[in-house]
Symmetry: C2
Subunit: 378 residues, 2 copies
């Protein structure tokens, strides 16, 4: 007998209330019944995004909403800043280039956060820059960027700030309106506790001014059509009905727990995970670690891919390996969405056993003890 | 107490086996477990598409796959043919124009099928045309186009044939390879018996030659990246995991029943529906009616929108009203996917009661009798 515990940074576990809501017989989307559900969802999303702006919903993975941000704001040859430093930061550069938009790329070493002043300096020198693209939590490295400070900087310029919060929303602090983030992009399969298949985009009036003049070709991800539909509590194309119905349940759970409490839970789980790793003699990969996912360096002599496989196949605990240039070099433990301190304790336990089994000798129970102490602080 | 019966042309009912499969705890997509599921899905899709070509899967509504076909085949200023004649035919024109592609539009009166010879004549005169975009079953009018004949025509030219089979696949006959259809686009929420949120695209070697030189900008719907991923039984971006898992179950059900049997079941339900409508003194809207959905003219003096509402709210039977210029003028009964002759009998019964209730006097039981006779032929 083997129970499965999922601690990957997307998909994250789906609460049973959400799974059950999605399993009831499907309904048609052009009905008052569906409209009432979608209306509640729109309201709930504004709470989670901490915004009064419109929040649009697409049937797509998070990358779809990223593409929507690029094509709706910009025209070919437009100048923008993209912040790299991980696989998802690089995606902004790739999307921009695909549409003939010209990014000034800030290459941040993987594992580090961007220095906000670097963005400020480029903006000072290039008044024609229309947008800054960055990432709140870079899932591939476990780094959190100082979006609050970056927003203070972009607020002084004509450039809008676009933040990939796919693996951050409803996990770590993000105050869209209070901080002045123009566009926030998110996905369903992280803090929102849903399966993958929905993406979201909130947009400020400042950013909407750019939409009016943007000439990049677009259709499925076009925001002008989406806006016309949203005014009638609708979407231009058939919505992913079951995921929207699940989202209503997930948003209810989030509102019940409260965003501040959710952020606190994530911070606590992240602190426990980090301190446990250090107690085991492991090294963290991120210099500015996010509270949504912890990336840990694979110790010398251990095969990182095999460690992840062993944990999943023998202990039922799914964590993630490294992506792209970090393949085999880090493992990543998500504390994101429907994950509790108890899940972290169990994961740490199994990790201790697996590490020893693979030849990395570390005292059993040492990391768990540290985590227990942190969770016991009350 | 009220039971709900869904006969809208998407979403269509989801079989309980599929709903249950989607309700089990979610798994990560970069695992051997998921890959085995996706591998089975890819094989099953080839069967349903009746093709040996690659079939790509996107997390999006069907329109996303339509956009993918346009942007991956063509460059700005390219000449194409689009066949209108309904809301979804018009969508091909809209997408092409959004990307600066220049369509020669064949405007077919709503309710009629395109005359294949008209396509032949335009192709004869314009050797630079790169693609012909049409629809197999035009959901908005209930019309079926003669795609088999159109494919014979395009086969003689350099132009590729792109068919929107969103509401046709796994409902009515479509033999992608045998007929020579270069690109077939489909969605999950019709004959595939899934909730909305997945779209599909099959592509022939002839069409792939165009992909190599197409210059339309694209990222999320890019087929070159999708092809690289598919070779590793993967997708470039996070797949809609639960829908893929549901799709495996749906494909198993389809393979068990057999495509020919499925087409026959749909043809039988469509025949019964059409003959019942005529028996009630109603008129069909489509001159070339599809076996996936029947569009019926709303009789004089009856409010079509209210008829649909009455059926849903009082009898629990959801059919669809008209779209765009047909709003209030037709109602549409789907016999598509997880719908049986018994569902049609019940729908006809309730429709007879509702029509009389609204003032359209027709003998109770007369349409149902005709349908029963057809289903009794054995």
């Amino acid at each position: 007998m083997r129970k499965q515990l999922l601690l990957t940074p997307g998909p994250t576990p789906v609460p049973p209330e959400v799974s059950l809501a999605m399993a009831v017989p499907i309904i048609h989307h052009r009905t008052s019944e569906y409209r009432a559900i979608f209306e509640e969802v729109i309201k709930g999303l504004k709470y989670v995004f901490q915004t009064e702006n419109d929040v649009f919903t697409f049937a797509s993975s998070g990358t779809g909403a990223m593409e929507s941000a690029v094509v709706n704001l910009l025209s070919p040859k437009d100048k923008v800043i993209t912040v790299e430093g991980g696989k998802f930061g690089e995606r902004w550069t790739e999307i921009c280039k695909s549409y003939g938009i010209e990014p000034i790329v800030i290459e941040v070493p993987w594992g580090e956060a961007v220095e906000p002043e670097e963005i400020a300096q480029i903006l000072e020198k290039n008044s024609q820059i229309k947008a800054v693209f960055t990432t709140l939590c870079e899932t591939s490295t476990g780094v959190v960027n100082d979006v609050r400070r970056i927003a203070e900087i972009t607020a002084k310029h004509k450039a809008v700030l676009v933040v990939d919060a796919i693996s951050a929303l409803a996990s770590i602090e993000l105050r869209t309106d209070a901080w002045g983030v123009d566009i926030v992009v998110a996905g369903s399969q992280k803090g929102l506790m849903l399966p993958p298949g929905l993406s979201f985009l909130s947009i400020s009036p400042k950013a909407w001014e750019l939409v009016k003049e943007a000439k990049s070709p677009r259709y499925y991800f076009d925001l002008k059509e989406a806006k016309k539909a949203l005014e009638k509590i609708d979407t231009p194309f058939t919505p992913a009905v079951t995921l929207i119905i699940g989202l209503r349940e997930a948003l209810r759970l989030i509102q019940k727990e409260g965003l501040e409490n959710i952020w606190e839970r994530h911070a606590l789980m992240a602190e426990a995970t980090r301190k446990a790793m250090l107690a085991l003699g492991l090294e963290l990969f991120a210099k500015a670690p996010s509270d949504a996912v912890t990336a840990v360096k694979v110790p010398q002599g251990i095969d990182g891919e095999n460690l992840v496989k062993l944990l999943r196949q023998k202990y039922g605990v799914s964590i993630a390996g490294g992506q792209a240039e970090l393949k085999g070099k880090v493992f990543r433990i998500a504390h994101m969405g429907y994950i509790t301190p108890e899940d972290i304790l169990l994961t740490l336990s199994c990790l201790e056993i697996a590490l020893n089994e693979m030849g990395f000798k570390t005292p059993l129970g040492k990391g768990v003890k540290v985590a227990e102490e942190i969770f016991s602080r009350g």
